[in-house]
């Protein structure tokens, strides 16, 4: 049994993901794999990479699904990684203390030397955000690129998770959700950002921004009037003549 931070961390670092602009391109998924397999801590291994059942450990995946029927439905791309919950069951369930939530910024990590690969945390996570690595047999999860976001070897504007840096549609945002003045908090406020499965009570830090309503409206000022004939009497060509004679 592992404890959560005694008091609310002063910072709650996390992601805000815009479902209105995510096109499901998988850029974040691969950038994450690429950065983290060569970064902190053990690599993200792949089994049978050129065979019948290629599989590996990934910290971030994008799921695509349809909601609603026919043309009124929507296709949604849903990126999913660890949400760094305030009440992280993956932490409290850990029998060895490997899984922990950082006091200073709320990031949930795994101390791999202590991880025995029992899988309890993955079982406890309602979001399916943890994957056991096939080689090291330790639990892998999103670190929010902790080896990037504070990294003094990187220029300041690159101190972001790899997924945020690479997102071509700018659908991913990183910041402090405890600070109401942060850009991410403002986005959540303006766009009605929501928690994933709030009823579960884990109080995830990451937020999702909903797709804006799909509609027949113009998006630039409501319904527009139907087009009338330019010149009911003289027809279009008559209208052209009149216009050119101005």
């Amino acid at each position: 049994m592992t404890s959560l931070p005694a008091s609310t961390p002063p910072k709650q670092l996390g992601l805000v993901i815009d479902l209105d602009t995510c096109v499901g391109c998988q850029a974040c998924v691969v950038a994450c794999k690429e950065w983290n397999t060569g970064g902190y801590p053990a690599p993200l291994s792949d089994q049978d990479p050129y065979g019948a059942d290629a599989r590996g450990a990934w910290l971030n995946r994008v799921h695509g699904f349809e909601a609603g029927e026919g043309a009124d439905g929507m296709t949604v791309h849903f990126p999913k990684s660890c949400l760094h919950c305030a009440d992280a069951a993956c932490v409290t369930v850990c029998p060895t203390g490997a899984s922990y939530k950082r006091d200073e910024d709320g990031i949930v990590l795994v101390e791999e030397d202590k991880c025995i690969g029992c899988g309890l945390c993955a079982w406890a996570c309602p979001y399916g955000a943890r994957e056991l690595d096939g080689v090291s047999k330790v639990m892998k999860k999103c670190t929010l690129c902790i080896d990037r976001i504070y990294n003094e070897n990187l220029p300041e504007d690159e101190r972001q998770p790899a997924c945020v840096n690479t997102c071509p549609a700018h659908a991913r945002h990183f910041g402090d959700l405890a600070d109401p003045e942060s850009q991410v908090s403002k986005l959540v406020a303006e766009r009605g950002g929501f928690d994933l499965m709030p009823e579960m009570g884990y109080r995830p830090t990451n937020k999702y921004l909903p797709p804006r309503p799909r509609s027949g409206g113009t998006g630039c000022g409501g319904t527009v009037p139907a087009l009338e004939d330019a010149d009911p009497a003289g027809g279009f060509l008559g209208w052209v003549d009149r216009m050119l004679s101005r």
Binding site: D46, E66, A230
Partner: protein, 949 residues
């Protein structure tokens, strides 16, 4: 639990170097981190004009591309039967000697016996030039089976097109219409652009049979029936004309709307522009009541009416013809609704919204500018409606006219190169169409000599065609013949078929680069494989006698070659993305880029461009050797990039010429590549604010473009609503002129060379019984894969290892189909078996799948039981490269009759549930012998780092 010690500032890498991505054709700038000499991390270059720091999934997976076990290791000489995969590894010198011997003989006999087709080549400026030096007209890259309709439709209309040639003004647009866009075309800029549109609250409408990717985030998705986009566009034009929602001032100033067209039915000049003695087109000056030069600033041109020319002829303004055409009730929303699958009321509403955005929300930028005639304007005024289209409308047999219609729609709104509209990317705009003409006429093809010009170009009339006196095509792919007169990119998809048949003549050597023509790049894959291995029963020789192929990987095509040149990956070479070829410019200014070797090849492989230069020097090709016979570019491709001049002062790269301070034009600079490397491997020139719009008519920009060598003449580029070159071909078909089509092609040319866009059903509709093959079948590319390169990638294939056939829910219900069912999909060309998934967001008469996921067992060094081979499938087997016989018995290409663009998306099919226990993808082929590197059972990639230090 308190926090624990953790190094949050580890070193990123030992070294970071810049180059250009090649995981697809988008050509983003990348920053490659190396650790202990290994690839640690690839990220976007933040300073690069294309991707501005972002990178897609393909780009990030470049590490696994580079480490692919399918990489070839050594030149190969075939020792078994074609397709057996039995090769002998040989040294480069032997490989080059063999190729030299083969090619030298045919060059001095008949250089046309070399067919050189380079696939997804990004060095076409060099490979095309090489073909010219060799003396063969039989050269093209893959454009003919990609998007030549889009390119040619644009070039012949607005002197530009989408992607490399132009882009939406994301920043100022209020309304965006996207048609059938393939993901790898400008993929990162499009994603960024969509985000900008959304942030600005603009409306995004996607016209696409399938609701995935970009369409998934559109405000409105219109699930159009494949091949009917042209009708939809023409209905929008109909509505805008009816309501007078067109920009007449724009049309008068920047288009040929006012140019007079001879109305003289049956005569040789019917439908041509009225010109004065200098050849200048004329308009009707309403003030003077007489003709005037259409370019006259003082004239008040008529757009309507019919005028007596005083010489017995009459003429009408082009616009009058255009208005008559599209005001016709056949283009009314009610008339097209059923066919397009888009309700008439929706079409009317979209037209109203487009008109509202264009005319009620005009964008005005306080930027004074001067037009070509010297008139000063104190503002840049724009119509903020923008559009984008790609292969979805291009890969149909009616695609050329549809693309032209789309550009005409943009032009009527006045939204070409204005704020909020479409924007040209320099070196575009160019005259519509630009020079030069394709070479390959009888006097231009002489054994042992270079050809008198480049093999590809833009025809403007029958006299430019490459045909014999009797009308027979002169090229092996029949490009620039009466069967495809405007085939600006050639017809790579017909080369194997024609070479096998010896139609129009037999060839000796087929030399290909980077196109998987024995698999996913071919129509009619099974038959193509047979043609590659078919022998003449009398001689016992292969019908295509010799095949040379260059590829970096053990693809499905390699086993069918006689001689294989193993290429490097993109991280191991010098390369160039040139303004002479397919530039990476943005609307803000021209740009080009290089690739530099980031790592040394671990294998005995060479960059194809180096090999080609070496081969050319061994053959003694003019231009490739010095006067003393020694190689002109002994340093290989980088030597060529720096020192080759296409015309004085103009070479492969525009940046840092002369002493390093000249751009565009300037003497070769030995330090040029160093300058590129120092600038993160790209060059960009930023245009001043007063040249950012109206480039086609902007004095400052046109002067600049001439100075840079983009255009020969700083005259304004006039948008061609009415296309006179098309009418010239039509007149020939009607019996005028010296060069006329053979009788068998006459009616076809007359029909499809309409100077104003027309819509006709895709030819496959006619070729098929609607009741028997009621469904359309199309493919698209997943955002994270590019052809067969992506689906062999250890990381990307975990995201998508096999493809499904997506079936509309309504259709599934009708046919009793459910998720995971196996079905037979049948076309007039064959039958495949595949597994389905039911989908809501797809046109109700259309099934679709992801392209190029299916692989042949043994290829790409994947296990025989890889899902790509056992469950993955290609629609290619169902697509015939030829249409059924017509009355005369002749079989035309399954292609656009104007450009020869392969009509991939015209496929018609039927679907039936497979009996229980009939599972697995079909057809299957014998496994190719695997080749390449040892394949790991498990992989923990650390990028040169230590595991758990």
């Amino acid at each position: 639990m308190s926090s624990r010690p953790l190094d949050t500032s580890p070193a990123i890498s030992d070294e970071a170097r810049y180059t250009t991505c090649y995981m697809c054709a988008c050509r983003c700038g990348i920053k490659v981190h190396l650790r202990n000499g290994e690839l640690r991390f690839i990220e976007g270059n933040r300073d690069h004009p294309t991707n501005k720091g972002v990178l897609c999934a393909k780009g990030a997976a470049g590490i696994m591309h580079h480490h692919s076990p399918a990489r070839l290791t050594k030149p190969l000489l075939r020792v078994g039967e074609r397709g057996s995969g039995a090769f002998r590894e040989i040294e480069w010198d032997e490989a080059l000697s063999i190729a030299t011997e083969w090619l030298d003989r045919i060059r001095n006999d008949d250089p046309r016996k070399l067919a050189f087709f380079t696939g997804r080549d990004q060095s076409q400026a060099m490979t095309g030039w090489w073909a010219t030096q060799f003396g063969t007209p039989n050269y093209a890259a893959h454009g003919g089976f990609c998007s030549v309709n889009m390119a040619a439709g644009g070039i012949y209309t607005i002197g530009g097109s989408f992607w490399e040639f132009g882009e939406p003004d994301w920043e100022h647009a209020r309304y965006f219409l996207m048609f059938g866009v393939a993901e790898d075309h400008d993929s990162n800029p499009i994603k960024g652009g969509l985000a900008t549109l959304k942030a600005n609250g603009a409306k995004f409408v996607s016209v696409n049979p399938v609701r995935t990717g970009y369409s998934a985030i559109a405000d409105e998705w219109l699930g159009v029936t494949p091949g009917t986009d042209g009708l939809f566009v023409m209905a929008l034009i109909h509505e805008l004309l009816r309501a007078g929602k067109v920009d007449l001032d724009y049309l008068v100033r920047y288009t040929n709307a006012s140019w007079l067209v001879v109305d003289n039915p049956g005569a040789a000049d019917n439908g041509l522009f009225v010109r004065d003695g200098d050849g200048t087109p004329l308009c009707w000056d309403r003030e003077a009541g007489a003709t005037a030069k259409a370019s006259s600033v003082d004239a008040r041109p008529a757009l309507t009416g019919r005028y007596d020319l005083g010489d017995g002829r009459h003429a009408v303004p082009a616009f009058q013809l255009l208005a008559e055409r599209y005001l016709d009730p056949q283009y009314a929303p009610d008339a097209v609704a059923e066919r397009t699958g888009i309700p008439a009321e929706t079409i009317r509403r979209i037209a109203a919204e487009v008109a509202d955005a264009a005319f009620s929300e005009a964008v005005e930028l306080d930027v004074p500018w001067t037009d070509w005639a010297g008139r000063k304007h104190d503002k840049m005024v724009g119509r903020p409606v923008t559009m984008l289209a790609m292969r979805g409308i291009s890969a149909h047999a009616n695609g050329f006219h549809t693309c032209r219609a789309l550009h005409i729609l943009q032009t009527l709104l006045g939204s070409i190169d204005v704020p909020g509209g479409f924007r040209y990317r320099p070196p575009f705009p160019r005259p519509a169409p630009p020079g030069p003409k394709p070479a390959g006429k009888p006097d231009q093809v002489v054994p042992g000599k270079p050809m008198g010009g480049p093999p590809l170009g833009f025809t403007t009339g029958p006299e430019d065609l490459l045909v014999e006196a009797d009308g027979t095509p002169r090229r092996i792919d029949k490009a620039f013949s009466w069967e495809a007169p405007v085939s600006a990119h050639g017809l790579m998809h017909l080369v194997i078929t024609n070479a096998w048949k010896g139609d129009p003549y037999p060839i000796d050597t087929l030399f290909m680069y980077m196109a998987n023509m024995a698999w996913n790049s071919a129509m009619n894959t099974s038959e193509t494989i047979r043609m590659l291995t078919d022998k003449d029963p009398e001689t016992g020789e292969y019908k295509i006698p010799r095949i040379i192929y260059s590829d970096a990987f053990w693809s499905e095509t390699v086993p069918y070659a006689d001689l294989v040149f193993p290429d490097t990956t993109y991280l191991e070479r010098w390369d160039c993305i040139s303004l002479l070829d397919r530039p990476i410019s943005g609307a803000e200014g021209p740009a080009d880029a290089i690739r530099q070797p980031i790592v040394k090849p671990s294998r005995d492989v060479r960059p194809f461009q180096d090999v080609l230069l070496d081969l050319g020097a061994r053959l003694g090709l003019p231009g490739l050797v010095k006067d003393d016979g020694s190689p002109r570019y002994p340093g290989g491709y980088p030597d060529y990039l720096v020192n080759h001049e296409r015309k004085p002062g103009v070479g492969s790269l525009a940046g840092w010429r002369g002493n390093g301070d000249e751009h565009g034009r300037g003497a070769p600079n030995p330090g040029q590549l160093d300058a590129y490397v120092a600038n993160k491997c790209f060059w960009q020139d930023e245009l001043p604010a007063d040249q950012l719009y109206y480039k086609h008519a902007n004095r400052g920009y046109l002067d600049y473009a001439k100075r840079m060598g983009f255009i020969d003449d700083a005259a304004p580029i006039v948008i061609q609503l009415y296309s006179e070159p098309l009418q010239k071909f039509r007149l020939a078909a009607e019996g005028h002129g010296v060069v006329q089509p053979p009788e068998q092609h006459r009616e076809r040319v007359r029909t499809y060379f309409d100077p104003l866009p027309i819509w006709y059903p895709p030819f496959e509709d006619d070729a098929n019984d609607e009741a028997r093959y009621p469904l359309h079948a199309v493919t698209q590319r997943p955002m994270h894969m590019y052809h067969s390169w992506g689906s062999q990638n250890a990381w990307l294939r975990q995201i998508l290892g096999s493809n499904r056939l997506y079936v509309p829910a309504t259709l599934a219900a009708e046919n009793g189909l459910a998720d995971d069912d196996w079905v037979y999909l049948t076309s007039r060309n064959g039958r495949i078996r595949c597994q389905i998934r039911v989908m809501q967001g797809v046109n109700g008469r259309t099934v679709w799948t992801w392209n190029a996921i299916g692989k042949r067992a043994g290829a790409w060094n994947l296990d025989d039981d890889a899902p790509e081979a056992t469950k993955g499938f290609l629609l290619n087997h169902l697509i015939d490269e030829l249409l059924p016989e017509r009355g005369s018995g002749y079989r035309y290409a399954n292609a656009d009759p104007v450009t020869g663009q392969a009509a991939w998306y015209d496929l018609r099919v039927s679907i039936e549930k497979a009996p229980v226990q009939e599972e697995g993808a079909e057809p299957q082929f014998p496994s190719l012998a695997r080749a390449g590197h040892p394949v790991p059972e498990e992989m923990a990639y650390v990028g040169g780092g230590k595991v758990r230090s």
